[in-house]
């Protein structure tokens, strides 16, 4: 039978170390809503989302109460909208109506974000894909809760450089349209290489076409729990360090598995996956960078950071995989700048640069995340940053992403405020040498060879 110390340990994790279920994300397929009439398409989308997700928020709250664990977000991911609007949408403005419908549906069922205003263009763009991408700045600036993602590359298809070039411009335009709100719409826009179909985390969540009608995916989080566990093994060997991370990740993930199964049962929707990510928040003690410091670095970004992060990421997966029957999504340590106080401190101290962050993304999920750069950064430079990140994902057969905020009217030394879970971000310097001619080329980068690995 359980003893008082085990019960106290669990409750200490929840009360003092910020253990929480970061999100229950309900994936909903909208393929059945496809229609050649725009009005009917929107109506069917609204009805499908509100019918399927009507109880989501209430079930989330009930689980919260029964187990005494916070469930921070209840969210929805839908089929990439570019696949829905091919028949009905003739102009970018037509796609924007779908974004408004998603936004209304999200508000109606009480979820804080809805993902899936997306296009999958890792090899080529259909006309609908391009219309959707061109509609992103307007869609994100006119809606509150809609998140957008574009898959630009994959290990199997290479990198769609026409898409990369276009997204550089789209990100700039999205920033420009919300410049009076610290370019907030850029927080809801992410580009991917090897985007997973079952990612529960925003802004990149969408319901892939390989998924069933509806599915429950859950993301847990507990950087603070890992950090506290490591405080007890200071100075110990790598073996002890790794075992401690694994055991902690196991415990954290078991909670995610429990909540996912319970939500699945109560909503009568199949359980999909648990995402094993360590997702930080700006709350004190809820930081991935602080774990890196606890492992032995003065600041995230110091020499040794990539190795420490590789170790952390791998142990989290090793511990987590055994704790859940199905693992998926992004699964790894997130290293966003703005959402992690330790990362913000590292940037402020001059320890962490964009280039070091890029190196760190080689060994963890998910990529260059929530990074503010000067507003004068050229679209081609943003495309260059994206292309670099896509190449890392493509060659290493992993998911990588870029969520970057060109802070209009701001420069290095300034900061952008996002508020809430998103925190604030110091504006980071970008290498100012040009890549115009590279980005200006047409076409795509071929898929890499899968033999002769070096």
């Amino acid at each position: 039978m359980l003893n008082i110390f085990e019960v106290a340990e669990t409750n200490k994790m929840i009360e003092k170390e910020n253990l929480d279920v970061r999100t229950i994300t309900l994936g909903v397929s909208l393929l059945s809503c496809i229609d050649s009439d725009l009005g009917r398409l929107n109506q069917k989308i609204y009805e499908k989302i509100t019918d399927t997700a009507g109880n989501l928020a209430a079930v989330g709250e009930e689980i919260e109460k029964e187990f005494g664990i916070p469930i921070v977000n209840k969210r929805i991911a839908v089929t990439p909208a570019a696949l829905l609007g091919g028949g009905a949408c003739k102009r970018p403005e037509d796609f924007v109506t779908i974004a408004h419908t998603m936004d209304r549906a999200a508000k109606a069922v009480g979820v804080n974000l809805i993902g899936g205003y997306s296009a999958l263009v890792s090899k080529g763009m259909t006309q609908a894909d391009e219309l959707l991408i061109r509609s992103i700045p307007q869609a994100l600036s006119e809606t509150e809760r809609v998140c957008s993602s574009v898959n630009l590359a994959s290990t199997r298809t290479g990198i769609n450089m026409d898409g990369v070039r276009l997204m550089g411009e789209i990100i700039k335009e999205t920033a420009e349209r919300t410049k009076e709100r610290d370019c907030a719409a850029c927080m809801k826009l992410v580009v991917f290489c090897n985007a997973p179909d079952d990612n529960p985390f925003m802004a990149g969540a969408f319901h892939g076409v390989t998924e069933s009608d509806a599915v429950i995916n859950v993301g847990v989080s507990g950087p603070g729990v890992v950090k506290t566990a490591l405080e007890k093994v200071r100075g110990e060997s790598f073996e002890v360090l790794c075992e401690t991370i694994k055991k902690t990740a196991f415990k954290v993930t078991r909670v995610g598995q429990l909540v996912a199964k319970e939500a699945s049962r109560m909503l009568d929707i199949p359980f999909g996956i648990v995402d094993l990510s360590l997702a930080p928040t700006p709350a004190v003690g809820d930081s991935v960078a602080d774990i890196l410091c606890e492992i032995g670095l003065e600041y995230a970004g110091a020499p040794g950071t990539t190795a420490a992060l590789a170790l952390l990421n791998d142990q989290v997966k090793k511990g987590g995989v055994m704790a859940s029957s199905y693992v998926g999504g992004l699964s790894g340590a997130f290293i966003p700048v703005s959402e992690d106080q330790g990362m913000i401190n590292a940037v402020a101290a001059g320890a962490l640069t964009l280039e070091k962050l890029e190196a760190m993304t080689c060994v963890c999920s998910v990529g260059l995340d929530m990074i503010a750069v000067p507003g004068r950064t050229k679209a081609s430079s943003i495309s260059g940053i994206i292309a670099d990140e896509m190449a890392i994902g493509m060659v290493n057969q992993k998911t990588t992403a870029v969520r970057i905020i060109p802070a209009v009217g701001k420069d290095v030394g300034d900061r952008v405020e996002f508020g809430g879970l998103f925190g604030y971000a110091p504006v980071m310097p970008v290498n100012e040498f040009s890549c115009d001619a590279f980005i200006g080329r047409q076409g795509r980068i071929p898929a890499p060879i899968h033999s002769f690995k070096n």
Partner: protein, 90 residues
């Protein structure tokens, strides 16, 4: 059987267990196990109870116990057993 874990943490005072037990008895909740200790002057108690005989929804019970805790000056939490069981047992 529907097991729930009740934890009570707070400043030690006369009658904590009595009041918690009275509430449980009034609501048809059977106590399976009690352990109690004092950590750094703080009263810490864990009860394993069976709520199968109670007509109350878990949420209502949790709210009422939390309110009772406020009256006594301690923190009372009710959580379903599974969250602890899953975390600490393979």
């Amino acid at each position: 059987m529907k097991k729930t874990i009740i934890t009570v943490v707070g400043k030690d005072t006369v009658g904590i267990i009595a009041k918690v037990c009275a509430y449980l008895a009034d609501n048809g909740i059977n106590i399976l196990d009690i352990s109690q200790t004092i950590v750094q002057g703080y009263f810490t108690m864990m009860m394993i109870v069976d709520t199968a005989g109670s007509a109350k929804a878990h949420g209502d019970m949790a709210d009422e116990m939390a309110k009772l805790g406020e009256e006594i000056g301690v923190l009372i939490k009710c959580q379903r057993e599974e969250i602890f069981e899953k975390m600490h047992r393979i």
